[in-house]
Symmetry: C2
Subunit: 365 residues, 2 copies
């Protein structure tokens, strides 16, 4: 059904989509390539919410050469009037001949409608080319569409023997500056950064993206003037945050989850943490589909125990610190090895002198 | 000084030497290739202490074709009468034309003598081709020759957060069966296996090499009938070992370091552990130049703290167990991050589902 040429052009569309990695949130990353008689006549990608979709950029570049052309797009063209008119309509107006989509829209309410509009207009549509790559590209967006919960990445950092700080609290710095730069790149990709008032106060953390600390490879595709600061979501159950903190000196948006926040007034504040309703509200009310978590052992442990973590990013410094410091997750009270939290290691690499392990928690159910 | 052909033949000699990896201890691994008019006319490697050296095997294969030939050998030919006559003499008798050695004899008392004997007999000798590979090949033998201490590999195994057992002692099994097979391969390569009476008693461990558990790649070059059992060295300061233990059911040699062992009678038995004199005696009296250590946190911690570990082999299972179990090294009582034990990571790979990290402790001096 798909030719080698189809693969080549869709690969290019996926590459283009990635250029929106740091800017499209909460929108999906989408790339588009228009090909006429074997020649690329237009390309585009979605850059930022509210700005034109990938197809519109590509059609603008292709002009009248779009007539009868093949359009490669990493996501089903939209069929509804949102902040921009529907792309399916624009493609019909441009009289394209064929549309190849890597995947359908993950929103089950509209999935297939854009394809149907195109087919009704007599345009040939093929779906599913490099679908897995398209799913990976927007895994956070897709998860939220399907489940109503954000995709959650939990960052942990410690020594080879699992200590995140000494008994006296000293933790700066166990990992290398390269690892901390790497963290900046993850923050920049996220939809929001989640932490607790305890971390904000103890570390005097601002939890912002500092462009100057991003790796050069990211700076190259992400100019400083385009810098997007993901909102910072802080759990502050006991309302201990004060306005004099460095945290509030930043222009970056903050969402404080505290008894004074009307969006969370259904929470039972007497409970330790009610993470599931918090996450649902973050997705629904704040359009946050990708949460990057940097917090202490208590929140990290709760997130893992409640099965809310999609991916662990674990930085391990080449040090041994003994078992009398502070552990990554604190105490777990295990009485049998079957109770251990099992992980599936996806990737291991060196970041400076540190190891970076990416792993998925394995559900026990 | 060395041609591409020289490199090719020395590489082959190094490969041959490796075939003795599981059998030569305490002798070094040595390989030899004899080349006449561009053709390989003889090859050999040292297989087992007391059996012929690599050069002798290669000369036997080459016969009269050795006259005027070039001999590639990974270690300087010996010059003394040991269990076998000196190889330098054999090469002179065979009237070879040129000898290329990867490295000199690491024993400073005899280093250069074999080369001198050959040169005195009018044979051209070149030294230092692929020297680093030759040094790596026999790093344990070389360390002991130079320092009088064995090369020490310490095995540790635990979870991603540094736990080697639960609080209740449960530890079987944190790591996978593939990791335990990998341990068998390390035992098989070692000169001796070091542990404590506590580990022998608590784990009812026999600390032997089980041929059936070796990886197939090793079984292929190491037939079951050739199986060598490295001696098991057990620290038994309080003489708690009893003859009914499974440990004593094996045919494998054991060296018990206890007040009743005359070789260690200079030790101060009131002290916790006197590792340095023990290691010196193991090298000198027992010809042990390569120790593989499998023990609990107490011995592991002491070895690292006293700077006696050359290489750490760390198996990390993809699990999180909390900080309330037993840590890899127990408590270290650190009050500042500068006191942490720093490591230099040499290699990271997956062994089954586990990570295996090979690292060298970095001396603080």
């Amino acid at each position: 059904m798909f030719t080698i040429e189809d693969h080549t052009h869709m690969s290019r569309a996926l590459k283009l989509a990635e250029l929106g990695k740091y800017t499209t949130a909460p929108n999906p990353r989408v790339g588009c390539v228009i090909v006429k008689d074997g020649l690329v006549v237009g390309e585009g990608f979605h850059y930022r919410a509210g700005e034109p979709h990938a197809e519109v950029h590509a059609l603008q570049a292709a002009k009248e050469r779009a007539i009868g052309a093949t359009v490669y797009v990493t996501l089903e063209p939209c069929s509804h009037y949102g902040r921009t008119p529907p792309c399916a309509e624009a493609l019909i107006k441009a009289k394209v001949g064929r549309v190849v989509c890597a995947m359908q829209d993950p929103n089950t309410l509209v999935s297939g409608r854009g394809i149907q509009m195109l087919r009704s207009a007599g345009i040939e549509v093929d779906v599913g080319l490099l679908e897995q790559d398209a799913l990976d590209l927007n895994r956070a967006f897709i998860k939220t569409m399907r489940s109503g919960l954000p995709f959650v990445q939990l960052k942990l950092a410690g020594s080879l023997d699992g200590q995140t700080a000494l008994k006296n609290g000293q933790s700066q710095w166990i990992t290398s500056s390269q690892a901390r730069q790497d963290v900046q790149a993850f923050r920049a990709q996220s939809g929001a950064i989640l932490s607790t008032s305890k971390t904000v106060i103890e570390d005097n953390a601002s939890l912002t993206v500092r462009w100057s600390e991003l790796p050069a490879s990211i700076q190259a595709i992400y100019p400083e003037k385009a810098l997007r600061q993901p909102p910072r979501v802080i759990l502050d159950r006991k309302q201990t945050l004060t306005s004099d903190l460095r945290f509030f000196q930043s222009q970056s948006e903050s969402i404080i989850i505290a008894p004074s926040n009307e969006h969370f007034d259904e929470l039972d504040w007497s409970k330790q943490l009610e993470l599931l309703p918090i996450f649902k509200t973050l997705a629904k009310t704040y359009s946050i589909n990708h949460l990057w978590v940097e917090a202490g052992a208590t929140l990290s442990r709760s997130l893992i125990r409640e099965g809310l973590v999609d991916e662990l990013i674990l930085y391990i410094a080449p040090k041994l610190m003994g078992n009398d410091g502070r552990g990554l997750l604190g105490d777990l009270g295990l009485t049998s090895l079957e109770q251990a939290i099992d992980l599936d290691i996806k990737e291991v690499r060196m970041v400076g002198k540190d190891l970076r392990i990416i792993a998925n928690p394995i559900s026990k159910e």
